[in-house]
Amino acid sequence: MSERLTVLKTYKLYVGGKFPRSESGRVYEVSDSKGKWLANAPLSSRKDARDAVVAARKAFGGWAGATAYNRGQVLYRVAEMLEGRRDQFVREVADAEGLSKSKAAAVVDAAIDRWVWYAGWTDKIGQVVGGANPVAGPFFNLSTPEPTGVVAVLAPQESSFLGLVSVIAPVIATGNTAVVIASETSPLPALSLGEVLATSDVPGGVVNVLSGRTAEIAAPLAAHQDVNAIDLTGADADLARDLEIAAADNLKRVRRPQAVDTDWTTDPGTDRLTSFLETKTVWHPTGSLGASGSSY
């Protein structure tokens, strides 16, 4: 009896809750750390990037408008679904990053735990960074954090899964929607994450995952007038500078890459949560009666 031939997976993009191939019809070869062919990944085009922005914008109102409690549940659901597919991700991360099974397992566990961590943040960040301001006058005013909008995320190049999760989860935890460019050489865990997100109650369009050449896809995103912020973590210094210049055109919020490589296993803090928040301050008179007798 001959040995069973395994079924290979056709990796696809994740855009607007669907799994399109690149509209360009292009793919590129993805191999493991030893050069062995793993799969053909979609080579996204500029049009794919623009389509993803449209999907992210469409999803923004509903996601930003959902309660923080609801968003927390959805993020936790991602962790649940990932836990069930742990073995798959351990295999993919081991292949992508050349890690041993046990090291890859630790990375995947950390990534799952990170979703849980951010799930807990959704309904707390408002209390931590917002609040009532003690104004010197008969007014009540309240500062509340709100999502910036559509965030383009250049995922880290090296940490194909833990790094990826660490840059996506804070963006969507606070109500933004994301267009994510996966690690250029190791995009497969990101594309598989799309399959998890699709079955995790995350509304279509909230996270959109593109694979391909980071510089090629990032350029139209940085210049896009309907993108509100860009996270340049996955860009090298030259690319980051060019993209930041393009982003100035509509004054996008820019998160610059770290000068030193980030250790994704450490406590992330609230930094990435607040990077993509606006602060809105709402004033109202308290009705104190002034000398004029006016109640406004």
Binding site: N228, I245, A248, L251, A259, K280, T281, V282, P285, Y296
Partner: protein, 476 residues
């Protein structure tokens, strides 16, 4: 019955303006390296007030070096000591507030009523507020030991010269940074008087440096490689240029830029209060306010009533001598700004909007523009999209709250908005949906040092004021 007002001028003898001023670098007044000077005039009379040294690139470099040198000691001071300097400055501002109010009115053209009752109290309050943070930074939520950035290069506009100085300098010093500040070329005087306040307060040399000058000096300052933090308040176009300039550098940047604020009046709004709020929203400081409520969105069913009341109210506004305590509307800051307002108002007419101006006599000298409103304005009109930065209100109507929100958000800006309604749930739901950094409900143009201020979208990056305002000056 018409009331006649006797003139009630504030005395200008409380302020002693020297015939010339230098740049303030490293605790000393100095000539510009290339000897250049410019004149500052009173916008209400075109009288030359003083001759000012004009900073160039060499002066910027010298000031940054002085600030760099001062940073070492200033940042190492215990927070409690820095706090005391800031408290001293706040107290001296209070003591000299009458002098500074008159000075600001002379140099800027805004009514004494506003400099005396709005600008100066807020200027002192900002220094008091941030003084208290200087020894409490570990409690601000940015980690236990947040560090200052270094030298802050700050460029401020002419609409609130001393207030913008306070917004920039108070948090910078409280957090341990040193400062090089460029005031606008049309309003350099109050910043130079502030230099004297720094002297009186005994502030160490080089901690605050003031460089009056033009845009080229501002550009040289924000581009200087030894500046760690750039803070700019001004036009969106310049803000974008700065954002490009700092790309790829380690400089932290905050930008407070333009706006096209929507002031939304619902049919259940208290009309008299709403009219006062509309007037405050667009005619405060001659409309030269980035967060002005320059687009009035009024519910169709009450549009006629509100407009009638508004026009009636505008006819009672008194335009004229800014030093007169009865004056509501002062002079436009410069001939250049007046020309820009005129051009945009003419464009409004040319595009078919209907123009109405309050009937008031304009003085013969100086730069003046009567309070003006446009009706029959659509969202496509230039005057509904571009920031005019003058006393010009564009009136649009709406039928449903959804339409009001859609129209309010239909702009590349996102700085301010107003809501007028008696219904609490409507205030909250509309405020939630507006993409603006400051929302005033049943009030407008209120400011306080404890409250974060800043924009969404192309109105800029970051917040000034409150705990949030510290972040811009800390390495977090």
């Amino acid at each position: 019955m018409t009331f006649e007002y006797a003139p009630a001028p504030e005395s200008r003898s409380v302020v002693d303006i020297a015939p010339s001023y230098g740049l303030f670098i490293d605790g000393e007044f100095a000539e510009a390296a290339d000897g250049k000077v410019f004149k500052t005039v009173s916008p209400s009379t075109e009288e030359v007030l003083s001759e000012i040294a004009q900073a160039g690139e060499a002066d910027v470099d010298r000031a940054v070096k002085a600030a760099r040198k001062a940073f070492e000691k200033w940042s190492a001071l215990p927070g409690a000591e820095r706090a005391k300097y800031l408290f001293r400055i706040a107290r001296i501002i209070q003591e000299r507030s009458r002098e500074l109010a008159v000075l600001e009115t002379l140099d800027n053209g805004k009514p004494i009523k506003e400099t005396r009752d709005a600008d100066l109290p807020l200027v002192a309050a900002h220094f008091f507020y941030y003084a208290g943070w200087a020894d409490k930074l570990g409690h601000a939520g940015f980690g236990p030991n947040p560090a200052p950035l270094g030298v802050a290069g700050q460029v401020i506009p002419w609409n609130f010269p001393l207030l913008m100085l306070a917004w920039k300098i108070a948090p910078a010093l409280a957090t341990g940074n040193t400062v090089v500040l460029k005031p606008a070329e049309t309003t350099p005087l109050s910043a130079l008087f502030f230099a004297d306040i720094c002297r009186q307060a005994g502030l160490p040399k080089g901690v605050v440096n003031i460089l009056p000058g033009y845009g080229d000096a501002g550009a040289a300052l924000t581009a200087h490689p030894d500046v760690n933090k750039v803070a700019f308040t001004g036009s969106t176009a310049v803000g974008k240029a700065i954002a490009r300039q700092v790309a790829g550098t380690g400089k932290k940047v905050t930008l407070e830029l333009g706006g096209k604020g929507a002031n939304i009046v619902f049919d259940d709004a208290p009309v008299d209060q709403a009219v006062e709020g509309i007037v405050t929203g667009i005619f405060f400081n001659q409309g030269q306010v980035c967060c002005a409520g320059s687009r009035l969105l009024v519910q169709e069913s009450v549009a006629d009533e509100v407009l009638d009341a508004l026009k009636r109210r505008l006819t009672t506004l008194r335009l004229g001598d800014p030093l007169d305590k009865n004056t509501d509307i002062g002079a436009i800051n410069s001939a250049e700004q007046l020309a820009r307002i005129k051009t945009l108002a003419d464009t409004g007419e040319a595009e078919g909007a209907e123009r109405w101006s309050a009937p008031c006599e304009l003085p013969d000298s100086g730069y003046w523009f009567a309070p003006t409103l446009f009706t029959n304005v659509t969202q496509a009109h230039t005057i509904a999209r571009d920031e005019i930065f003058g006393p010009v209100l564009s009136v649009l109507t709406f039928r449903t709250p959804e339409e009001a929100v859609a129209k309010a958000n239909n702009t590349q800006y996102g700085l301010s908005a107003g809501i007028w309604t008696e219904k609490g749930s409507r205030i909250l739901s509309v405020a939630n949906k507006l993409r603006a950094g400051v929302v005033w409900a049943n009030t407008f143009n209120k400011f306080d040092p404890t409250s974060p201020f800043g924009g969404y979208k192309e109105s800029g990056h970051g917040r000034e004021g409150g705990r949030h305002g510290l972040e811009a000056y800390l390495d977090v």
